[in-house]
Symmetry: none
Subunit: 211 residues, 4 copies
């Protein structure tokens, strides 16, 4: 599930790499994308030198974390598609799981610079494309099933997912309820049913492609 097989690394090197990635993920989440490299290294239990051997600079580390995150989302999406009996249920599951992915994804989205870095990375781009493909299929399926309103596209759903990834401004112990309720509201809004038609046109994956 790791984004970057990176030739073959010796077992210990691989372990180092993983520890660094995990440390970076955690610290980005807790402290934002500006944590000193040295602290990431310390948390990973290695020296800075080792960190830099693996990731030439901060941007490389950010990209690696982003790739890892998106890879995880892709895996979730594919699992949902493959394991759920109906596309609607896959959609519901996908949206529910976003909550779980939140912690891992939004980390890198904190600073505009970090975001720019990620946006430019082709590897990450690639994952995003694949995710959108799966989403496209799920959306189409759910509409064919008559469960999902027909005036939404994968782009719309993607936006919802991204919103659900946002850290809500609620105390830790309420955060889960909050997300559950928002999700339920969104599902109610997504359900096929007479209602006010959405403004604009159906949003596709392409609409969200940057630049």
């Amino acid at each position: 599930m790791t984004a970057d097989p990176d030739v073959r690394l010796r077992a210990d090197a691989r372990r180092n790499r993983d520890q660094i990635l995990a440390a970076a993920k955690a610290m980005f989440a807790e402290e934002g994308p500006d944590v000193p490299m040295e602290e990431i290294a310390r948390r990973a239990g290695v020296g800075v030198g080792t960190l830099y051997r693996r990731f030439p600079d901060r941007d490389a580390l950010i990209k690696a974390v982003a790739q890892d995150n998106f890879a995880q989302v892709l895996a979730e999406a594919e699992a949902a598609e493959g394991e759920e009996p109906t596309a609607w249920e896959a959609l519901v599951r996908l949206l529910s799981r976003s909550r779980a992915l939140r912690l891992s994804v939004h980390l890198a989205l904190l600073s505009p610079q970090a975001w720019a870095t990620i946006r430019e990375d082709p590897q990450t781009q690639h994952f995003r494309d694949e995710i959108m493909d799966v989403l496209d299929r799920i959306v189409a399926g759910a509409q064919r099933e008559g469960q999902l309103r027909s005036d939404v596209g994968a782009g719309d759903v993607a936006v919802l997912v991204s919103l659900l990834l946002k850290r809500v401004p609620a105390p830790k112990d309420t955060a889960d309820v909050v997300t559950d309720r928002v999700l339920a509201l969104m599902l109610d809004g997504l359900r096929a049913r007479p209602g006010s038609p959405l403004p604009g046109r159906v949003l596709t994956a392409a609409d969200l492609r940057d630049r």
Copy 2:
């Protein structure tokens, strides 16, 4: 509508203060809360010294921006409450306007540290409380009118607003459509109508209060 009239300042000092605040708002938005103070000063057309005379450190500046932002939201909420014929319409307007506030609000929410700073500021706290009061009245009103589903509270709506304030990952020219559609979806989800009841209990303002 500025948060801090700050006794009487000499005319030029006041103008400087306002320019600095505006510059900070803009640069926080564009670059995140870590922009060099010097750049903010340059953009405001003053020397760093002036900036520091007015705002003793970065945190003070962040707080001032946050206060200004929340004051704006409060003004919007009160205007919506006072000017719209029904509470439901006030609610719709409020959610629509969030989009306009986005640029100004989310600025300071980028880094965990910045967020902590804001959370602690009593002045800002105060604005948040007042905003929630207005929201409470609007929500109750819309429910009395039978337009708003009865299993939501001001807390739920506040969360939606905060989500709408998030920068969506879409190209600039699509961003507006995206937000319009998300908003419409949310409104569809909020409308009183037979549907799946929301999980958990109605969220009140208190549920979102930190700590």
Copy 3:
């Protein structure tokens, strides 16, 4: 007794000047010669602008304080010479009073830079010369009286005075006893009496003249 008659100043201007000088003296004593000019101004109850009108820069202020201090020492010396019945008693009094002068003198002697500034100031130079003249007479007199050992000069005594001006590293309440005892020891050392002759030659005022 003020060092610098400075043409004629209007009464209020003169009062400002004196307040600034007093404030500077006090703050140099408490905080060292690097206290912010602004704090000196505040303590004097005037704006910085006023301070700078009176003293073009920090060095000018330091010089003024030094002049004031030395003028005071000179006055003490002359008073001792004029009022005491014997030269030895004048000498004893002078050394005793140094204690009182300490607070005011050592202030400006804290930083090497400040010291350089003072050393170069001709006005202060002048006071030092006059002081040495008085001291010369007192020393000669006391030796003629047979009270003061004959192998010391005004230079030697001046050094002792300067040592007595040093802040001793003792708790506030012990400081006075300490100085009294040191002084008594020194006087015992100075008294004419068979003992080991001092090394080197008699130190005159000229020996201490810098450069």
Copy 4:
């Protein structure tokens, strides 16, 4: 004799640390305790970063210098005690050597802030205590020998030493003579011999303990 062996440092790191300390000592002496850290670093032949890695801030550096200085004084005192045939001679030697220690000791004593920093440092405190212990023994010994007047204590001698550490206001080439003569005067004052008794009570180490 260095105050802080600081676990084991890599050979080069240790050398750097020592160079920094030496540079700081020299520059504090010449320029006072406010010399720019960068200049200290330059003089030590290292980058600022290195300086800061070793001494987290200026205060840490000041403390380290102070500790080193006091350690040196202690060593001198112990050597004098151990190597001189009589306690009186040990005392004379100690007072003479103070002159040599001057350059290194008074450095850090220039600004009130620096002094406060040092006073608070327990490590330095410790050295001061040990020094006083040695002094106590020397004083008692010299009195038993009948050489030292009986109405002085280690506290009195400590004060004399501290005075001798003061930079005398004399041209460089005269400074040594000056100190020799002052020292001789003091010794004459200290010698056991009928004379005027000292005022107050014998000063002990405790009398000088701050707070």
